[in-house]
Amino acid sequence: MLRKVLTITENLFTELGVPVNRPVRKVAVVAVVANPWAGKGYVEDLQVSARPLAVLVANTIGDALLAEFGTPSRIEAFGKGVIVGEDGELEHGSALVHTPFFADVLRACVEGTAVMPSAEHRGPAGSRLVVPMGHKGAFATRSHYTGSEISVADAPRPDEIVVVGAAASGPRPNARVGDRTTDPPVDVATLRSARRTA
């Protein structure tokens, strides 16, 4: 079921030549699995049949993330994504990651509570996917919206699914776009009319 697992770890030190105020580690764990519904035509029930693989992949990804960060407390943002091979449905990838059997297991691994942002894509082997990430406890934390691009040269095959879990140790490098508490009051009607006259 599990063909291979890649762990991609990035440590960022400078941004446009300026040292980052908090060096940020981003990790993406990429699991390549056989599409359990491949060759079966249209399958109505994707729920019960998804569970064993969803749990296996979530534990595999969660363990690999913890191995890279040491402890859950070093993880501040997380996200997930799938690339379904060409012979599968987007619904197959979604069946693996958009249920508690995947997401709650992964959240427990990293001690997160927030909704996990996600990207779903279908494509050939080598397709690139930007896995979105957000704060693991308070999704609206603006400094922690980020992403990580992955690709695997030989996956997914048409009958495979690539499942990704990603995490970051902190905010975007040198984050400085404020947050909801620092935003000025905004009159949307005025902003809309400004667009028409610009």
Binding site: L6, E10, N11, L12, F13
Partner: protein
């Protein structure tokens, strides 16, 4: 060395051609993205002083990172240097084709052979294949392999991506006849 970021990539292969690979085949890559030390200087004739200054530091850092990522004895290895569009291939080659770069890795692995290499000039996000060969005997056919790598935002035009790759074994389920069997 002005490093912007470092990366490690570890791949574990569990199945090949549908058959189990036990233990899983592991390959690790360590990369560092640095400012091209000759960027903006025009044509520089003598690259030696900068190489002597920078290459040992890069070689030691990458050797440590790739060994740590692999976590097992190294059986095959290789290296890479991808220079951004404003640089010369000679800049990339200069930093990796010197004993000052490779000896750190060879000394911790007990390796005797030359590190096979890929050198390339390319924009950010280009993929490149790092060739690996056996660390003691480059004729060991089971250990000829390569690993594809890319970094989405590097190298910029004035940067160089330098890498080391290490494998804990040969190809998964390698089963070609050795060269000695053909020579009779």
């Amino acid at each position: 060395m002005n490093a912007r970021k470092s990366l490690t990539i570890v791949e574990d292969i569990y199945l090949e051609g549908g058959a189990p690979v036990a233990p899983p085949a592991r390959t690790a890559v360590a990369l560092v993205v640095i400012e091209n030390p000759w960027a903006g200087m025009g044509f520089v004739e003598d690259l030696g002083p900068v190489i002597d200054d920078v290459a040992p530091e890069i070689g030691a850092l990458l050797a440590e990172n790739v060994m740590s990522a692999l976590g097992r004895p190294v059986e095959a290895y290789g290296k890479a240097a991808i220079v951004g569009l404003d640089g010369e291939i000679e800049h990339a080659s200069g930093l990796i084709h010197t004993l000052r770069f490779g000896d750190a890795f060879r000394s911790v692995t007990g390796a005797k052979t030359l590190l096979p290499a890929v050198e390339k000039r390319a924009p950010a996000g280009s993929s490149f294949d790092i060739p690996l060969k056996h660390v003691i005997d480059q004729t060991v056919r089971s250990h000829h392999q390569s690993v594809e790598v890319r970094v989405a935002d590097a190298p910029r035009a004035d940067e160089i991506v330098i890498g080391l790759a290490a494998a804990a074994q040969g190809r998964p389920l390698a089963r070609l006849r050795p060269m000695s069997a053909e020579r009779g």
